[in-house]
């Protein structure tokens, strides 16, 4: 299977990339790691006339301390995220979820920014960005803007990124000392999440002091399980208390029915996996 014809440019700066998108018009497409886009091109589900490859822009790669936050360039690969000490220590949940994505070869090429911008509801990093209150910086012809993850996802494969804009970095607060876990449910190696739960918990003296919970593939966008979070806070980190809080996991969800799972099964999964994720996070 061979993609249909397109032109290709590899700009060396964000400004040049934005200019290329402006010139390319509505049939221009950004190429990040390519591990969502190239499969789609091969199947000819999309036929852009121009690919703007961000692979030549050094400033979009890398992970750095940014005051009290950890900031990750959008073109940083999953592999580099996984090996980074700042991420391991302060944004552990991101590393845990990233480790479950696809396989080793894909993680060498796929990027955090590409995954978030693609906004596949079964993608694993959206729920993490949402649960951890990430901030996303987007560059365009008029300069840059920063949006919270809670305002980033608009719908199925749709975000607030405009046609001539580029996601440049993702910034996370530090969750140093929190417990966390990403509980993913799928049936085979490499498979997408039928449902998954991202949980980060701060336990103080046996009591859950703070909780962050995000859901994967329980709607058109990642979903923040606020009902679960509120029910957890102030509770002891015990199986009974966590199970009761996990009953709130389906609030505000709109689980899809597809060949992998019916929506009521996904709702069942969301509760069970929330319980598992929180218990694992609580240690």
């Amino acid at each position: 299977m061979i993609p249909s014809k397109f032109d290709y440019v590899k700009p060396a700066s964000v400004a040049d990339a934005v200019a290329a998108l402006e010139q390319g018009g509505e049939d221009a497409k950004i190429l990040a790691g390519g591990h969502s886009l190239i499969p789609v091109l091969r199947l000819r589900l999309a036929a852009p006339t121009l690919l703007v490859d961000l692979g030549g822009i050094a400033e979009l790669r890398g992970i750095r301390e940014d005051g009290d936050r950890v900031t990750i360039g959008a073109m940083t690969t999953y592999y580099d995220v996984l090996r980074d000490d700042l991420v391991k220590e302060h944004v552990t949940l991101l590393a845990q979820a990233t480790e479950t994505v696809a396989d080793g070869q894909v993680r060498h090429r796929g990027t955090l920014g590409g995954s978030l911008a693609h906004a596949d509801p079964a993608g694993d990093l959206g729920a993490v960005a949402l649960a951890l209150d990430a901030e996303l910086t987007i560059a365009g012809p008029g300069g840059t803007r920063t949006v919270p993850a809670s305002e980033f996802f608009e719908g199925l494969f749709t975000t607030v990124i405009g046609e001539t804009e580029i996601l440049t970095q993702i910034s996370f607060p530090r969750y140093t000392g929190w417990g966390s876990h990403y509980e993913k449910f799928n049936r085979t190696a490499q498979a997408w999440s039928m449902c998954a739960v991202a949980a980060a918990i701060r336990v103080d003296g046996g009591t859950i002091a703070e909780a962050r919970v995000g859901l994967t593939n329980m709607g058109a966008t990642p979903i923040r399980a606020r009902g679960v979070e509120q029910a957890l806070v102030g509770q002891p980190a015990t199986a009974d208390a966590v199970r009761a809080a996990a009953e709130h996991a389906t609030e505000g969800t709109a689980a899809p029915s597809d060949a992998d799972a019916a929506s009521d099964y996904r709702e069942h999964l969301a509760k069970v996996l929330t319980g598992r994720a929180v218990m694992a996070a609580a240690g």
């Binding site: 993609p3 032109d7 290709y8 591990h35 190239i38 499969p39 070869q105 894909v106 190696a189």
Partner: protein, 172 residues
Amino acid sequence: MAEVRVTVDGVNYTDDVEPRTLLVHHLRERLGKTGTLVGCDTSNCGACTVHLNGQSVKSCTVLAVQADGAEVTTIEGIARDGQLHPVQEAFNEFHALQCGYCTPGMIMQAIDLLGDNPDPDEREVREGIEGNLCRCTGYQNIVRAVQGAAQKMKPGAPADTETPVGVAGGGE
């Protein structure tokens, strides 16, 4: 057309290619590197795995233009002076193949895995090769071969695989 310069298995190539050309097609059809196979064409099976700047990738999911300036290693480039790579030897020794179609990609991924984790346990091997599908073997001998190769590649391991480890290493 775009000019693509790549070093493949130590040889430099410069070619004009269409931007839509996949790296695996460039390797096979332009450069004659047919040791790298096309299996599924859907980024699943891993038969097309090569190393791009030292990291394993599915070459059906990389455009040739993205590899411009890069160093590519294929299954054809890992033997040295007629001597098979230890992972190749182990696949032979442990009978880690039946039809052999997955083998080039499996070996390239195994080499990558052992680079990151020189002494993987069984679970780590299985996770490390989860991007490579084999429809014949049931994976048992593949896992054994990767672990066997890890032992051969350990610093201080005897070069001659016929020599018992206990003798060469002076005992436990």
